[in-house]
């Protein structure tokens, strides 16, 4: 346990300080346990950062564990898609024979700044912090791609930039089915009939009018 924690801290340190060492050993000795540790910490931290959403959805007890596990699964899935995009674009731009699995672990290690995700709970400033953490993630990817593919800064920036743009397009294209899927999973994990964000609350749907209509109809 102590050894594992030390490896998590070491990999986190490399990643947060943009040390190329974070990526150097990825092809030969992927730090699977440490990367999974980072994934768990970030999901927990982001979970605290999303406290408002959890409270809004009245998630309690065992449902918090369910939401936590769901968070890991969704985040791992999203990162796997990002890794595929990054790997495909990098393979097109360079000839370096880097395996998809290696890029996946790089993407997971690049999550490191999200250990501070809990601080995004701070009203208003937390939203800005969230953007900063996202930019920090991209910088880690930028350094990692440079090391793994042995390319210049410009080519690394091009690869990461293209991959980021592709992921943004994919997010928009997959938004509707993705939301439906996550909502269905959330219902199982959290015990709430639907996933409700704060913005939904007063936007005319779904929690207030739907339940209000139901109540009116019953009375």
């Amino acid at each position: 346990m102590g050894e594992w924690w030390a490896s998590v801290r070491r990999v986190l340190g490399y990643a947060l300080s943009l040390d190329p060492e974070a990526a150097t050993r990825l092809p030969t000795e992927p730090p699977v346990a440490a990367a999974l540790g980072i994934l768990a910490i970030t999901v927990g931290s982001i979970g605290i950062g999303h406290l408002g959403v959890l409270v809004l959805n009245r998630v309690t007890g065992r449902h918090i564990c369910g939401a936590f596990v769901l968070g890991i699964v969704v985040m791992a899935g999203a990162r796997a898609l990002s890794a595929v995009g990054l790997w495909a674009i990098a393979s097109l731009v360079t000839d370096a024979p880097v395996r998809l699995g290696t890029v996946f672990w790089l993407v997971v290690v690049a999550l490191a700044p999200q250990v501070f995700g809990a601080f995004t709970v701070v009203p208003h400033a937390g939203l800005f912090l969230g953007r900063v953490l996202q930019a920090w993630e991209l910088l880690i990817l930028f350094v990692g791609v440079q090391v793994l593919y042995d390319v210049s800064r410009w080519r690394s920036a091009l690869i990461v930039g293209l991959a980021f743009a592709a992921s943004q397009i994919a997010i928009r294209l997959l938004a509707a089915p993705g939301r439906a899927l996550v909502s269905a999973l959330w219902t199982r994990a959290s015990g709430r009939p639907m996933f409700v964000t704060a913005r939904d609350l007063l936007s005319g749907a779904p929690v207030v009018p739907v339940e209000a209509d139901a109540e009116r109809g019953a009375s």
């Binding site: 809004l56 701070v122 964000t197």
Partner: protein, 315 residues
């Protein structure tokens, strides 16, 4: 040593900021969701017998208040009374905009602490401690302006406003428009409340006095937004500084959309400060034309209320 002090103050501020949203979220958890659903589910009621005024004005005060009952400064009360008399409409105050529940800081769990702060404020004006009140309330403005927490916050605050309106005869579906008059951080709260009230079918407009506000979704709902800006008011600049949605480059923000649609009017209030001597509500400092700042403010607001009656309802 200075580093330690700054570190401790920064850490304390961070803790306070992290805890700030818990109040409204806790309210939502305990009873907010149920009371919100009940309010939306309530059927429209016929208006009470006595004739309703042509408009209601609701005043939401600045961040220096501790509660909504006896804490509003005398000069603000005098101005509100004069606005009510000259415009011939009721001006409802006594709402504490910086909490979702119906009591101010003097009745909550920390009442003893806030009473002590209030005592120090009344006895020693130069003390730094009263700024704790402003800090606490500013954090609540940030909670309201944050899209993650704003909706639950506004649901609570709007229910305070709704209760106040109902106590004065307002009924759902009566069609009487409401103008929210927000001073300083009260402008942000007014926008959020108008967002909620329009979902209840209320026609809303907002008059901001030295308002500090974000690109709130309320801009999508108000019929018109007037912003009175004092030339010596630097506090109000916190709005465009802190909220990127107020920047011109964010062309898609609610603020910029409302401006393009002609639903925002910015008015120069003259060389007026945010608070203290020379402020919008100052009963003694005179403007260039010999009227006091308070008289100028009253005349301007009365004029805007007349303008509000000419604004077409939003479709």
């Amino acid at each position: 040593m200075i580093g330690w002090i700054l570190g401790i103050l920064g850490g304390a501020l961070l803790v306070l900021a992290i805890l700030a949203p818990l109040e409204s979220l806790g309210w939502w958890w305990r009873r907010g969701e149920r009371s919100t659903i009940r309010l939306f589910a309530a059927p429209q009621q016929p208006a009470v017998d006595h004739a309703l005024p042509e408009r209601f004005v609701v005043y939401l005060s600045g961040v220096g208040v501790l509660d909504g009952h006896g804490d509003t400064p005398e000069e603000e009360r005098a101005c509100l009374a004069e606005i009510s008399r000259r415009a011939g409409v009721p001006v409802l105050d006594g709402i504490f905009p910086y909490a979702v529940h119906r009591h101010g800081l003097l009745q909550g769990t920390m009442a003893g602490f806030w009473r002590a702060v209030a005592r120090i404020r009344s006895e020693r004006r130069a003390s730094v401690l009263p700024f704790v009140i402003q800090l606490r309330n500013v954090l609540q403005v940030l909670v309201a302006a944050d899209p993650r927490y704003g909706a639950t916050y506004y649901a609570g605050l709007a229910q305070q406003v709704w209760t106040k309106l109902a106590a004065h005869g307002y009924r759902r579906g009566c069609g009487v428009p409401v103008t929210l008059l927000g001073y300083s951080g009260g402008a942000q709260m007014s926008l959020g409340v108008s967002w909620f009230l329009t979902l209840l079918g209320v026609r809303c407009s907002v008059i901001s006095i030295g308002g500090v506000y974000s690109d709130d979704p309320g801009f999508e709902h108000v019929e018109h937004f007037w912003d009175l800006r004092g030339g010596k008011d630097v506090i109000r600049l916190a709005g465009p500084l802190a909220f990127p949605g107020r920047w011109g480059v964010n062309v898609a923000s609610t603020w910029n959309r409302a401006r393009r649609a002609g639903r925002v009017t910015i008015l120069d209030a003259g060389p007026v400060a945010h608070d203290g001597p020379g402020s919008y509500f100052d009963l003694t400092t005179q403007a260039a034309d010999g009227r006091t700042h308070a008289e100028v403010l009253v005349a301007t607001v009365v004029g805007l209320l007349e303008d509000a009656s000419r604004v077409a309802p939003r479709g």
